[in-house]
Structures are given as structure tokens and as C-alpha cells.
Symmetry: C2
Subunit: 163 residues, 2 copies
DNA sequence: TCATTGCGGACAATATATATCCGTATTAGA
DNA sequence: TCTAATACGGATATATATTGTCCGCAATGA
């Protein structure tokens, strides 16, 4: 049970995009450079975010990516579902219906209690992630991990990346 | 982000073992037969349960597997951690430390807030699974999915499987 | 002594994740 | 109108993880 690296990439990059001026977009190459990521593969994840409406992609010269809505309206769950897909991690294969003591149709009128328990646990996981936004992550990071020097460095990079 | 089939297998089979008389063990072949699972591969998962102390393995003639402790003392979380491993699903690769605006040591004194949020969500997931036991699953299944016929069929199979 | 069973390592097959490349469409600006 | 920059989507390649089998060994009861 593992979560792909793309999720970590996407959340961090949404934080970067949230710091860009309203309406301005950052090209894929700049986003990849910021965290030293493979540009070609990053493109796949950005496309997934784009399909989910989390980012908006602008094509052509001066194109790139910008957030599709306010950072306070983008939760970590939104990003996870966009990158990893919406299917639950636990997949019931209905093994209760197989073997010498298989559950017949009448025994299967309700979903298997084991599957129910796992889906409930996953709902708790999703709820926790739904309660955290990109805006909050940026606020915490700004308070904990940015001194004046780093703040200056970041603004300089951002200005250059916007051309 | 997917959970392997072995978890579903293991939880269901712990339910079967919980129905066996105290101290009696069921061999791998019988357990595989019950849900029509590949015996050789199931053995791997049973070994993992054994290493975790969830089941006890008896070797030799009349050997097999039995629960290592009372069904009410075995949670779904115990089984998941035994089968899937104890590492969290979210793995932070510390990408904040890379690239042109990398976080230095002073900025990394606290764990990245994004990683914290994911680990907290995972803690909620684990807590939900820790609150459900094999005994409870069996009680619910007995009430919802076993009529007299199926109960009889199960006891017959169990008797035969115990030789 | 023998048949039965679990253990653990080696190995193979398959699926998924990671990564790259290229042709096409789109756009800003010269 | 032309050009360079950019995202898109499909095809492809590689790496890793999952799923699955097999076999020699140790343990056990009859
Ligand atoms: S049959 Fe799938 S979890 Fe019970
Ligand atoms: S650096 Fe890994 S989650 Fe932020």
C-alpha cells in the first residue's frame, strides 16, 4: 500500500503556484526545475491536475500552469484523487462468493462487513485530507520554514520564472 | 494507492480460524480451498501472519494454522500491518531540500507540513481499523450472511477439514 | 521410518509506476 | 503570415512491486 511520488510533487507545486500572481502561469520546465524533478514525467501529473480542474493549463507562448481556483478551495484530498484516481485503496474481490461454503445471493444482500470496515476507515482518511488546504500548507510553511533570506530567494526565482 | 488482495484473504481466513475449536489448527490446503485461493501464494501471507503472531503455525502431521490470540484481540489493523508492512503509505522524499530554492537545515527543523498532514490522515485510517476486531466481523457476518443452511454447511466443512 | 506439514529462499510471470519521446494543436509576438 | 514556445495525448521503454510457483529443509505425529 504505497502512494506514488506524484502526490508529493503535486502538493508542493500547488503551493508554488499559489504564490504566483493571480492569472500568471508558470511553464512546466520551471516547475520541474523548482524541485529538480523530471520534466517529461511531471507533465503527466500536471495533465492529471488539469483534467481535475485543480490547475488550468495555458498553451502557446507564455503558457504554463496556474491554479484553477483559490488555494483555500483546494484540499489535499482533491490532489490525491486527481493523481492517484478516485477508486478506494481497498478492493473487495468478493471472495466470500467462492469456495465450498460460498455465500449465495441472499447472503450477499449487504456488502461484506469487512469491506464496509475498510471503506469506513478510508472515509476517515479522506476526511482528514479534505480538511487541509493548499492555503493552510503555505501558511504553515511560511511560518516554519521561510526566513527573510529564503523568502527573498523564492521571490527572485518566481520573478525570473515569470519572465 | 492500492491494498493487495492478501489483506482481504487474511481477514476472511482469520474469521474462519476463529470458528475452529480452541487449539485445533487448519492446514494451508484447507484454508486455500475455503475461498478458492492459490495455496502456494497464500502460504506467503500465512507466514507473514505467523511472523506477526496473529496466527500460530504447527508443523508436522496434523499441523496447520490457528489464531495466536483471541479473535477479540485481533484488529483489522494488526492484519493490515502484518501483510502490507508497517511503513506508512505516504513516503516523503524531502523534495523541499532540492532545487534552486532548497530548504536548508534550519528550515527543516520540523517535518514538512505536507508530510505531517498525510501522516495524520493515515493515523486516522489506522485508528479506524484498530477499532474493528475479527470477533466483531464474525458476529456481523453470522447475523447478516448465515442462515441455518449455510451455517450447517460451514460446520460440516469445518469438521471435515479438521479430519 | 514415513507421510504430512510449515518455513524460507530462489525463481518466474504479471502488473503498476516511473520516465521519455514525438507529432499535433494552440498561442503570443515579430 | 511566420516562428518560437507551450501543453496535450499516444506510443514506447524501463524499473519496481505484486502475484505466483517450486523445492529442499526442518519439525512432528503415528
Ligand atoms: S468478500 Fe471482499 S471483503 Fe469480504
Ligand atoms: S518535502 Fe516531502 S512532503 Fe514536503
Amino acid at each position: 500500500m504505497k502512494i506514488g511520488d506524484g502526490v508529493e510533487w503535486a502538493v508542493h507545486l500547488c503551493g508554488v503556484l499559489a504564490a504566483a500572481p493571480e492569472g500568471r502561469s508558470l511553464p512546466r520546465a520551471k516547475l520541474a526545475e523548482f524541485h529538480d524533478l523530471p520534466p517529461a514525467y511531471l507533465a503527466k501529473h500536471l495533465q492529471a491536475l488539469s483534467r481535475a480542474g485543480i490547475v488550468t493549463a495555458d498553451r502557446g507562448v507564455k503558457g504554463g500552469y496556474r491554479l484553477g481556483r483559490a488555494p483555500a478551495q483546494i484540499s489535499l484530498l482533491d490532489i490525491v484523487l486527481a493523481i492517484e484516481g478516485v477508486e478506494p485503496a481497498f478492493r473487495c474481490t468478493e471472495i466470500r462468493k467462492r469456495g465450498p461454503c460460498a455465500a449465495g445471493p441472499s447472503a450477499c444482500r449487504k456488502r461484506c462487513p469487512i469491506a464496509r470496515a475498510f471503506l469506513e476507515a478510508e472515509a476517515a482518511w479522506r476526511q482528514a485530507l479534505a480538511g487541509v488546504t493548499v492555503a493552510e500548507m503555505n501558511a504553515v510553511a511560511a511560518a516554519e520554514a521561510f526566513d527573510d533570506n529564503r523568502r527573498r530567494a523564492f521571490r527572485a526565482w518566481l520573478t525570473a520564472a515569470l519572465q
